[in-house]
């Protein structure tokens, strides 16, 4: 079956990834992550001074600011801020930097669906770029259950999202992803960091979506790994040349 965006041939195909780190000069770390025509830029400042009322004695305070492409920040953006902050809090080793603040700013650059998943991936790349100590990395993808065909489509575009019966965004960390081959073929006990579903769906559909997204996230993890590796190689060459 051909997809609505015509560049993909399979329902379980992700759009081409693109990422670029260390783009901004004023931030401590920054990254851009693209899923096809969806693009999110993320900047990280920290660990740095924190407002007295936000100060935590035993760990760093994580602040997330999400800014939409069009218009003023609204409820949707506040919800995304909360989602990203609460997913990252257990991941960041904030105990190493008590009484400091880590500010994360997420800006949508291009919107063609799956902004939350793109934002998660951009954020983790920016945190890695800023050198914030992390327990593990994460990867995120979105899938929908199509209204007409009841098929599960991965990484939908805006056009496809309009035709969705239900939408599911999953975030998985990379610790639970190191599984043996036989496990990957059968259903795995997936460790989910974040899951957000809207619309009408059955229990089976939900778990099927989780499985499919879990498999797709492995590609994202691999991509993030390669991106960081390439960046470090480049930096190493610059130091030693």
């Amino acid at each position: 079956m051909s997809r609505l965006d015509r560049t993909r041939t399979s329902a379980h195909q992700l759009r081409p990834f693109f990422s670029s780190q260390n783009l901004l000069n004023r931030a401590d770390g920054s990254a851009q992550f693209d899923f096809g025509e969806s693009s999110v830029m993320c900047s990280v400042v920290g660990p740095s001074e924190v407002k007295l009322r936000d100060e935590k004695l035993d760990k760093a305070t994580i602040e997330v600011v999400v800014r939409p492409l069009v218009g003023l920040p609204g409820i949707k953006d506040k919800a995304r801020e909360q989602a990203i902050r609460e997913t990252l809090e257990p991941l960041v080793l904030s105990g190493l930097h008590p009484r400091t603040g880590i500010q994360i700013v997420v800006q949508t650059m291009k919107d063609d669906g799956c902004i939350l998943a793109t934002a998660f991936n951009a954020t983790i790349l920016a945190l890695l770029d800023a050198g914030i100590p992390l327990k593990s990395i994460l990867g995120a993808v979105t899938c929908i259950v199509d209204n007409n065909s009841n098929e599960i489509l991965l990484d939908p575009t805006t056009e496809e999202l309009a035709n969705a019966k239900s939408t599911h965004t999953f975030v998985f960390d990379n610790k639970s992803s190191i599984t043996s081959k036989e496990e990957q073929q059968e259903s795995v006990d997936v460790a989910t960091l974040y899951s957000d579903s809207t619309g009408l769906f059955s229990e089976e559909e939900y778990f099927e979506c989780a499985q499919i997204c879990y498999k797709a996230v492995q590609a994202v993890h691999g991509f993030i790994r390669t991106a960081v590796q390439k960046k470090l190689e480049k930096e190493y060459q610059q130091i030693h040349s």
């Binding site: 600011v65 800014r67 069009v70």
Partner: protein, 273 residues
């Protein structure tokens, strides 16, 4: 978190270099930094890089009801909130003086200079008009936000295409026709000057460090027809009239260069589509 002031060494070095006729990034006094324009896949999305300063402009439109006293006037709105992405000194939900000045300047340069034909945005008089919204996102702050934002805004407006509508009786329908460009009267471009050394030394397109050390600044908005659209000198050291005239002469040259570059970029993009 407030921006740290530059150290005495940095400040002295910059001032000494300016006295000797050099800028620390190797530019001449009246040179702009390299300007790079990148267009998005959809109409009306432009990313501008002026040296290390980075601005993203996005134009969008919707149909709304006009004011009763101006039934044929469309709307042009700007959203220029400084995000903490540009610099940690900008806080969310709290306007700094700089932010107010930047928004006011862009408003003056773009809207009050009547660069966009708002009458042309009318669909049904007194009932329906287009409202054009320009969201300007500041991504990286290395000085001269105003010029970068102005270039981004006008390029995005030039690049933008709104859907074509057909009026049937009182109603309008969006059609599957080719989207139409906005009618833009002229292209206002801002040129910012910073003054040092009691106003004896002036530079075009100051970087963030130069902005921190400067004694005063002035922004002139011109178009290619050598018409002054806006002039803003908010405080700073007093200046002589001759000097302001000299600034305008420099700005005329810069505006011509930038306009040519914008048009070349737009043409190159149009060919690709």
């Amino acid at each position: 978190m407030k921006d740290a002031d530059p150290s005495t060494n940095e400040r002295e070095f910059l001032l000494a270099a300016l006295k000797d006729g050099a800028r620390i990034d190797g530019r001449k006094f009246y040179d702009f930094r390299t300007l790079r324009l990148t267009f998005g896949a959809e109409y009306g999305a432009v990313e501008v890089q002026l040296g290390n300063t980075r601005v993203l402009a996005k134009v969008s439109c919707e149909v709304i009801r006009p004011y009763t006293d101006k039934p044929t006037e469309g709307f042009l709105m700007f959203n220029t909130e400084l995000s903490p992405m540009a610099s940690a000194a900008f806080e969310v939900g709290r306007q700094t003086d700089e932010e107010v000045l930047v928004s006011r300047l862009i408003e003056k340069a773009m809207r009050r200079s009547r660069a966009l034909d708002t009458e042309g945005l009318c669909i049904v008089a007194g009932e329906k008009v287009w409202s054009i919204r320009v969201d300007i996102h500041f991504l990286d702050h290395d000085g001269n936000l105003v010029d970068a934002a102005c270039i981004a805004a006008i390029t995005a407006l030039l690049h933008f295409r709104r859907p074509d509508v057909t009026v049937v009786g009182e109603d309008h329908t969006l059609e599957q026709r080719n989207p139409v460009p906005l009618s833009i009267h002229h292209i206002p471009i801002c040129t910012t000057f910073a003054f040092f050394n009691n106003g004896e030394r002036m530079v075009v397109d100051p970087t963030f460090l130069e902005e921190q050390v400067k004694e005063g600044d002035m922004t002139i908005t011109l178009n290619v027809h050598k018409e002054v659209c806006a002039l803003s000198k908010a405080g700073g050291i007093p200046m002589e009239i001759d000097q302001i005239l000299q600034c305008t002469k420099i700005a005329v040259v810069k505006v011509a260069e930038i306009t040519a570059q914008i048009q070349a970029a737009l043409e190159a993009d149009a060919k690709k589509r």
